[in-house]
Subunit: 212 residues, 2 copies
């Protein structure tokens, strides 16, 4: 067994990892569209799960639109502290953006209980108070996606981008299909898979692809 | 398409999700050992990836040992802020434990640069200063696992448990095999898969299974 220190420095690990992902994709005869490849490869990089080469759905021009929104100072709203933790906030701040997660807020908990709703859904309502261009990165709660769908249909909210990658077994698939019916720019992991790590990876892939 | 509000409240989602996971495991004719099942099912729950029914390796009695360590006030050291964010810290605090992640510490960054090492590896060294019983939850950096292996072999560190689930393509598989050679209680995701979400899910599965 060989573990060489030269090989393990982070920048080098990442470069070699992406090469290995590309090789594996070639072996599986999967050809990615160049503009989508960085997003797909980073989702695979964070999960080692090549299903993300097949299950990610992109609305037209969404990668370019997402990057433009970030360059214009868009903020990111997440449905978990994990996704917030995983986003490169220093780089986002370079463009004027911030990450918000309202899940632990006391007013959100109270409103959810009063309404018989979820904190995730109420968090989406709270995002309306931000008055900033918004990107939503939803890696956990289908109720967040359902609430976003309602707010979009009611024309109360017009997100720059919705990253709809909740994971799980109950209402997850359906919530993603709702989002796919909208005209809002979106990146969706069709099916059960996704997660807070995938949501953060997609945001970071958009960030890392912006020319500074 | 049917999205019923009754079905989407979090506690109910989790209960039904676990049922669906059990059904899918039964369909795949996978029988889990009862003491390991909560950990495996929670890893699947956080990823929707049934590979975790096959790739998780448990040292003898490790679930019981991990829970006993938590009950005795063990602290958790993580290699990412994401894993720290995902762990139920309120419940851990109930038993006297805390979560530490040293990755963003300035002294760690400086030492890593001075040594030509990684922040993840230096973070493991820093954990020696805690003087508390420790559980390591490693979901990202193989260099953290390699450094833990060295510290264990040098008898500088005797962890209560190492959760070794880094994800990726470079040195990840090898770092896990190193850990598997030790006598330290461990839970390892053999192969490329794992992640910060999986590391947090395993810690939470241990926490949720403790009788309060």
């Amino acid at each position: 067994m060989k573990i060489t220190l030269e090989a393990v420095l982070p920048a080098e690990i990442e470069r070699r990892s992406m090469e290995l992902i590309e090789q594996e994709l070639a072996t599986q005869k999967i050809v990615l569209q160049p503009e989508l490849a960085p997003v797909i490869k980073r989702a695979i990089h964070t999960s080692a799960d090549f299903d993300y080469a097949r299950n990610l759905v992109f609305s037209p021009g969404v990668v370019q639109k997402g990057r433009a929104a970030i360059q214009n100072g868009a903020c990111i709203v997440t449905d978990t502290q994990m996704t917030k933790a995983g986003i490169n906030k220093k780089l986002l701040a370079h463009f004027g953006g911030e990450v918000f997660c309202f899940m632990a807020d006391e007013d959100v908990a109270q409103a959810a209980q009063a309404q018989g709703s979820t904190r995730a859904a109420v968090s989406m309502d709270k995002s309306l108070t931000l008055n900033r261009p918004l990107i939503f990165a939803i890696g956990n709660a289908p109720t967040a996606l359902v609430r976003l769908y309602e707010l979009i249909c009611e024309e109360k909210l017009k997100p720059e981008l919705v990253i709809g990658v909740p994971v799980g077994f109950v209402n997850v698939v359906e919530s993603k299909e709702l989002l796919l019916q909208t005209q809002v720019p979106h990146i969706v992991a069709r099916g059960r898979k996704g997660g807070s790590n995938i949501a953060a990876a997609i945001v970071n892939a958009l960030l890392y692809g912006i020319d500074k």
